[in-house]
C-alpha cells in the first residue's frame, strides 16, 4: 500500500508520468471499438427487455423444491395460452412470466398456481405490468437523461469552464453508450432498476471528471503568462496528479456496489438489487476509464485549438520542450525536461 502512496508522490511531482494526453489516439481507438461493438450489438440483438417494458405478469411461488413442470401444468389449467416463461429462482422459488393478461386471468393463474403448489394465493408474489407502462418509464427516463445533460452542462460551464462542460458531457455520453452496449452484448435483462442504474452512473461518472478538471483548472490558471508548459502538458500533469485520487474514489464507490451485487444476485436471485447494482458496477468501471482516458484528452484537444494555446505551444516548443502530442515516444517527456515549478523539488536522477 505504501508503495502505492509513494507512487502518488512521484505522480504528483511529475517524476513518474504516464502520457495520457499524448496517447489519446490509442484511447479513442479503444473506445471507438467498444462503441462500434455497442452499436453492432444494439442493432443485431437489441436489449433484453424485462416484462416491465413489454407488459405482462410475473408470479413467484415460494415453496420447497418447486418444479417447472408443475408450474407449466398450472398455467395450462388456468387456460392461458400466451407464451409463458417458467424458471427456478434459487432452490425454493419458481417464477412464471406471461404476456399481458386481463385482471380476471391474472387471478385465475394465481389461484391455479396456489392450488398446484398447495400454498395460499396471498403468499404468491405477483407483478402485473400494463402494456403502456414500459413506454411511460422509457419516456420519463429519456426526459431525465436529457434534462440532466442540459442542466449539468450549464452548471459545469459556470462552475468550471464551458469546454470542460462539453468534454465532461462527451465522456458521460460515451459511458452510457458503452454500458448500454455491454448490456446488449451480454444480454443482461433491462428492468426499470437497470434504468435507475444507468441514470445514476451519470452523476457518478461526473464526480471523477470534476475532480480531474478542477485540478486542470488550477494548473492552467495563468498558463499563458509563462512558456513552461503547453495546455496539453498541464492537463496531463493534472491527470497524473489526480489519478491516485480517482482510483481510490472509484474503488471506494465500487466496493458497496459490489456488495449489493453479491448479496442481490447471490441471495435474492433476481430483482431490484441485482439489476441496479449490475448497471452501476459496469457503469462505474466505464466512468472511471472515461474520466482519465476520454474527458481530459478531449478537453486538451478542444483548448489546443484556441490561438492563445497554439501560441503557447509554439513558445514552449521554441524553448526546447517536447509537446506531448508530437511524438508517441514522449511517455516521460514531462518528466525529464519539462520545467516544473513544484516547490521543494529534489533533484532526482
Amino acid at each position: 500500500m505504501s508503495k502505492l502512496s509513494g507512487l502518488g508522490g512521484r505522480l504528483y511531482r511529475g517524476e513518474t508520468s504516464v502520457n495520457f494526453i499524448g496517447h489519446r489516439r490509442r484511447w479513442y481507438m479503444v473506445s471507438s471499438v467498444f462503441i462500434l461493438l455497442s452499436i453492432g450489438a444494439l442493432s443485431v440483438q437489441g436489449l433484453h427487455l424485462g416484462i416491465e417494458f413489454k407488459g405482462g405478469s410475473s408470479f413467484t411461488v415460494t415453496t420447497p423444491n418447486p418444479s417447472v413442470a408443475d408450474a407449466r401444468a398450472a398455467i395450462e389449467e388456468a387456460g392461458v395460452n400466451s407464451e409463458a416463461i417458467v424458471q427456478l429462482v434459487g432452490d425454493n422459488k419458481v417464477r412464471v412470466q406471461t404476456g399481458a393478461l386481463e385482471q380476471a386471468q391474472n387471478n385465475t393463474v394465481q389461484d391455479a398456481l396456489a392450488a398446484k403448489f398447495a400454498v395460499s394465493a396471498s403468499t404468491i408474489d405477483t407483478q402485473i405490468i400494463g402494456p403502456s407502462w414500459g413506454k411511460e418509464i422509457t419516456r420519463k427516463a429519456l426526459y431525465g437523461l436529457f434534462g440532466f445533460l442540459i442542466v449539468v452542462m450549464i452548471y459545469l460551464a459556470m462552475a468550471l469552464e464551458p469546454k470542460m462542460a462539453i468534454s465532461a458531457i462527451i465522456a458521460v455520453i460515451h459511458d452510457v453508450f458503452i454500458t448500454v452496449g455491454i448490456y446488449a452484448l451480454v444480454g443482461f435483462d433491462v428492468t426499470p432498476a437497470t434504468i435507475i442504474g444507468f441514470l445514476t452512473i451519470l452523476g457518478y461518472s461526473l464526480y471523477d471528471t470534476v475532480v480531474v478538471f478542477d485540478k486542470v483548472r488550477e494548473n492552467t490558471k495563468s498558463i499563458t503568462s509563462s512558456s513552461t508548459k503547453t495546455y496539453s502538458q498541464a492537463v496531463n500533469l493534472a491527470v497524473n496528479q489526480t489519478i491516485v485520487r480517482s482510483t481510490n474514489t472509484s474503488i471506494v464507490a465500487l466496493l458497496p456496489v459490489a456488495a449489493i451485487l453479491f448479496v442481490g444476485a447471490g441471495l435474492l436471485g433476481a430483482g431490484t438489487l441485482k439489476d441496479l447494482s449490475l448497471a452501476l458496477f459496469i457503469g462505474l468501471l466505464v466512468g472511471t476509464y472515461s474520466s482519465i482516458f476520454i474527458a481530459p484528452p478531449v478537453l486538451a484537444q478542444l483548448r489546443e485549438k484556441e490561438p492563445a494555446m497554439q501560441a503557447l505551444a509554439k513558445r514552449v516548443n521554441a524553448r526546447g520542450g517536447v509537446t506531448v502530442e508530437t511524438s508517441s515516444t514522449a511517455v516521460t517527456a514531462v518528466n525529464g525536461r519539462g520545467p516544473r515549478n513544484q516547490p521543494k523539488r529534489k533533484g532526482r536522477k
Binding site: S2, T126, I196, T249, A259, I260
Partner: protein
C-alpha cells in the same frame, strides 16, 4: 503551478465546530424520542403488501381532460374506496408533475386482489327510476310479500335481505350494468332501494353546479344541464314518473352502485335544465355537483403496474438490503484503514456519524412527511457510502498533496481544505442535480432511490464541513500525526517524500 504561499489564517476552531455538530445530533436524537418514532417506516416491498400504479388513459383529443384538478379528484375518490377496505396505513397519492401524473395506491397486508379490483373502476353515474324503497335494515319476512310492479320475486327477496348497516354493502362495487334492475343502498346506509334500469347516463350531463337560493339565503341546490341526448332521455323519464305514486316518482342518482340522492320529480322537465333541491348543506351540494360533473372517476385509468409482495419476500429483501449495506460498509472501512492507516479512523468516524444522521432522518421524515424506506431506498443509501467516502478521499489526497509541496500537516489541513472544498462542492452539486432529476422524472421505487441519494449528498456535505475537516485539523495538532508516524497515513514514506530525499 499557481501555488499561492500566502500564510493561512489558523483561526478555525475545530473543537467548537465539533461541539456544535454534537449538539445538533443530540437534538435530533432527542426529537426522535420526543416524537416517539422509534422504527423506520418500511415500504411495502420490505414488509409485504400491494401497490397499484394507475396511469390516466388519454383518448385522442382528450388530452385536455387530464388536469391537476381531475387527478386530485380521482385521488380523493380512490382514497374513499381504499379506506372502505379498512386496512390501516393505506395510502393513495399522486406522483409526478403536472398532467403527467400517476396515482399510486399502497395497501399493506394481503388484501391484494380486492385492492386491485377496487381502485381502477370508473363506474359511471346513472339515473334510475326508484321502484321501491325502505329503511336500510333487513325487512321482516312478511313485509317482503308483495313485489312492486315490474320487480321479480328474486330481486324482491334480495331487497328484503339487504342490510345497509353492514359496511360491506356500502363499499360501492360499481359492478352494476345499466340494463340491470338493481338493489342498492344509499351512501349513508339508512335507506335501500329497488331501481329500474338506467335511463340517463352521467356522460349525458354537460354541466352541473351548486348554487344558493338567493331569496331564502340558506337553501343550497344543484343545477344540471343535459346535452341533447340527455335532454330527451331526462325529459321522457321525468314526464313519465311525475304523476306516479310514491316512491316511483323518484329518480335515483346512482354512483358506484350506491344511491347518492333520490330527488322526487315534481314536474316533467323537457328543457334539459334541472334543479335538485332539498335540505343540502353547502358541502353536500358541491359534492353532488362534483359527482354529477365527473361521474365516478374524472378520468379513465389503466393499471400501469401492480405489485404484490408477500411478507416473506419482504422480510427476505429487507435482510438482503441490510446485509449488503453492512458488507459494503465493512469493505470500505477495511480499504480506508489499509490505505490511510490511522487517518482511516477519521473516515470510519465520519461514516458512522453519517449513518446515524441518516437513520435519525429516516425516523423523523417517516413522522413528518410519511417517508417510507423501500428496497431501492436502501440501495440508494448503500451507493451513497461510496459518494460520502469519495469526498473524504478528495480532501485527504489534497492534504497529502499540500504536504508534498513541503507544508506541515497543520498547515496542509487548512490549505488543502480550501481547495478540496471547491471540488467537493461542485461534485456534490452534480450528484444533487442527478438525484433531483431522478426524483422528478420517476415513479415509485425510483423516487425512493433518488430521495435517499439526495438526502445522503446533503448529509455528506454536513459531515465533511462539520466533522471530517475539524477532526482532521484537531488530529493534525497531535504529535502522532504531525511527526509523520508510519501508521498515521502521513508518513514521508507514504507521501513518497523519503524516496526523493534518499536519492
Amino acid at each position: 503551478m499557481s501555488t499561492t504561499n500566502k500564510p493561512i489564517k489558523t483561526t478555525s476552531r475545530p473543537g467548537r465546530t465539533l461541539a456544535i455538530l454534537g449538539l445538533i445530533l443530540v437534538a435530533m436524537v432527542s426529537l426522535v424520542f420526543i416524537q416517539g418514532s422509534t422504527s423506520v417506516r418500511l415500504g411495502l416491498d420490505l414488509r409485504g403488501g400491494t401497490s397499484v400504479t394507475l396511469q390516466p388513459r388519454i383518448a385522442p383529443g382528450d388530452e385536455g381532460k387530464v388536469t391537476s384538478e381531475a387527478i386530485d379528484q380521482a385521488v380523493s375518490i380512490i382514497r374513499q374506496r381504499v379506506n372502505s377496505l379498512g386496512v390501516a396505513e393505506s395510502e393513495v397519492a399522486a406522483q409526478g408533475s403536472g398532467t403527467n401524473r400517476q396515482i399510486v395506491i399502497s395497501v399493506p397486508g394481503d388484501t391484494g386482489r380486492r385492492v386491485v379490483d377496487l381502485v381502477g373502476q370508473t363506474a359511471e353515474l346513472r339515473f334510475r327510476q326508484v321502484l321501491a324503497s325502505a329503511s336500510g335494515v333487513p325487512a321482516a319476512a312478511d313485509a317482503a310479500a308483495t313485489p312492486a310492479a315490474g320487480v321479480s320475486a328474486d330481486v324482491n327477496a334480495k331487497f328484503a335481505a339487504l342490510d345497509c348497516t353492514k359496511p360491506e354493502n356500502l363499499q360501492g362495487t360499481g359492478a352494476d350494468a345499466p340494463t340491470d334492475t338493481l338493489v342498492a343502498c344509499d351512501r349513508a346506509g339508512t335507506t335501500k332501494y329497488i331501481l329500474a334500469p338506467a335511463e340517463v347516463l352521467g356522460r349525458q350531463i354537460s354541466k352541473a353546479s351548486a348554487g344558493l337560493d338567493a331569496q331564502a339565503g340558506s337553501n343550497w341546490f344543484v343545477s344540471l344541464t343535459f346535452n341533447g341526448e340527455g335532454t330527451a332521455a331526462f325529459g321522457a323519464l321525468t314526464s313519465r314518473v311525475t304523476s306516479l305514486p310514491e316512491p316511483t316518482n323518484q329518480v335515483a342518482i346512482v354512483l358506484d352502485g350506491l344511491v347518492v340522492s333520490s330527488p322526487r320529480i315534481t314536474e316533467a322537465i323537457p328543457s334539459g335544465n334541472a334543479q335538485i333541491t332539498g335540505s343540502f348543506t353547502q358541502l353536500e351540494a358541491q359534492d353532488l355537483a362534483n359527482v354529477l360533473k365527473y361521474g365516478a372517476l374524472p378520468l379513465a385509468f389503466d393499471r400501469g403496474e401492480v405489485q404484490q409482495v408477500s411478507p416473506t419476500l419482504g422480510a427476505d429483501q429487507l435482510n438482503a438490503g441490510l446485509l449488503a449495506g453492512g458488507l459494503g460498509l465493512l469493505l470500505v472501512v477495511i480499504f480506508t484503514l489499509l490505505y490511510y492507516r490511522a487517518l482511516g479512523f477519521v473516515t470510519v468516524g465520519s461514516l458512522a456519524i453519517a449513518g446515524l444522521m441518516l437513520y435519525v432522518l429516516f425516523l423523523l421524515m417517516g413522522e413528518w412527511i410519511g417517508f417510507t424506506l423501500t428496497l431501492a431506498g436502501i440501495a440508494g443509501a448503500i451507493v451513497a457510502i461510496g459518494v460520502t467516502a469519495d469526498s473524504f478521499i478528495v480532501y485527504f489526497e489534497r492534504v497529502r498533496d499540500e504536504m508534498r509541496e513541503g507544508r506541515s500537516l497543520r498547515t496542509a489541513a487548512e490549505t488543502g481544505w480550501v481547495r478540496a472544498r471547491r471540488t467537493i462542492l461542485v461534485a456534490d452539486f452534480v450528484s444533487m442535480i442527478a438525484a433531483v432529476l431522478l426524483y422528478v422524472f420517476s415513479v415509485g421505487g425510483v423516487r425512493g432511490f433518488a430521495f435517499t441519494l439526495g438526502l445522503t449528498t446533503i448529509i455528506d456535505l454536513i459531515i465533511i464541513f462539520w466533522f471530517t475537516k475539524p477532526a482532521l485539523v484537531l488530529i493534525s495538532r497531535s504529535k502522532f500525526f504531525n511527526s509523520g508516524h508510519p501508521l498515521s497515513g502521513f508518513s514521508p514514506k507514504s507521501l513518497g517524500l523519503s524516496v526523493a530525499k534518499e536519492a
